[in-house]
Symmetry: C2
Subunit: 177 residues, 2 copies
DNA sequence: GGCTCCTCCTTGAACTTTAAACAAATGGCT
DNA sequence: AGCCATTTGTTTAAAGTTCAAGGAGGAGCC
């Protein structure tokens, strides 16, 4: 991220041309982004750990389940929706199961498959902690941005997210550029 | 984050009024944000773990050190710059020390104090991996956004970050609203 | 000096995340 | 049926993070 004073251009046949360093302005944007994102996630993590007894990611899992038909989702689908690995999800569900907020259920169609099912207790936790969480999000984000800024933020982050989705072919195929 | 169908308004004297749920549009913005931020950080984490043998946060620490006078910073100052807790920093520096990229040095003025100092080896790692990292950031972010969007992103994230800075009095004093 | 409070940083335990390896089931394909 | 590649989800260990507690030095005050 830092440009060592003056690096001379590489040989033209080298794959590594002079790196496209960030300009000062780009630097500022990038650092603001990282700082904001870090502070925000830490903030919400603490908020939820305190009020709901779980990290932000876990809370997000419960939300996805609550929105799903019959409050259940296949592990792989949940992992994709939540943008986390299956491994991470496995651990997370194990912990949420221990807390009594989620229960596993076998999939009748596919003996490999597992459903993660939101328990009534899990739904209750969500019901009780959701107001506090939305409020935290509002105070940290929406209350501070103009409608136009909110709209921009949505568009921008959607673009960034799409560029990184494993779904999008070409994203992991840089040699096709 | 999810509004259970129709919750009746609370008693007016209750502190908990009807929660200010997010509108559908706000939901979309918020989810795009979380997804984008998650995917981006995971992506850069993998990129740096692969190419530099350390997580994104650790890389950021080396960058801060590289920019500091005499390539050294007091632990507390580094923690504040990097927006992480001192505890986390302690562990992180221990690991970076083991890797030979940072070294601790006692502070002459204050016997409690410690400097984290970037070693030559640490600087070298940075020099070699910085180009690849900037490139990753460019591809994921700057190459996809218009100049106007980049500017907006900077402004927006700066606002969010400022609202969460422990520095800003009033941020932790919600009763003063 | 002695007292108290605060700051600086570390530590250890509990918890979460990652990466790699794995078993089991599925889905073609012959 | 038999075979092989893929998909599904879990497991293990190592790495990273958090939280609460604590040692030690500094700073103000009597």
């Amino acid at each position: 991220m830092k440009a060592p004073s003056s690096a001379p251009p590489q040989s033209p046949t080298e794959e590594a041309q002079e790196p496209r360093w960030l300009t000062d302005e780009e630097q500022r944007v990038w650092r603001s982004f990282m700082e904001g994102a870090t502070l925000l996630d830490d903030h919400l993590d603490r908020q939820l750990q305190r009020d709901a007894g779980m990290p932000h990611v876990y809370y997000g899992l419960l939300v996805k389940l609550a929105e799903a038909p019959r409050r259940r989702l296949r592990m792989t689908e949940l992992a994709m929706l939540a943008k986390i690995t299956r491994s991470r999800l496995s651990h997370a569900i194990a912990r949420l199961e221990k807390s009594g907020w989620v229960r596993r259920e076998d999939c009748p169609d596919d003996k490999r498959g597992q459903f993660a099912v939101l328990t009534d207790q899990g739904y209750e936790v969500l019901r009780q902690t959701a107001p506090g969480h939305v409020e935290a999000v509002r105070q940290a984000v929406f209350d501070r941005l103009t409608p136009q800024q909110q709209k921009s933020l949505g568009e921008i982050m959607r673009i960034i997210a799409e560029g990184l989705q494993p779904t999008e072919a070409g994203a992991d195929l840089p040699w096709l550029r």
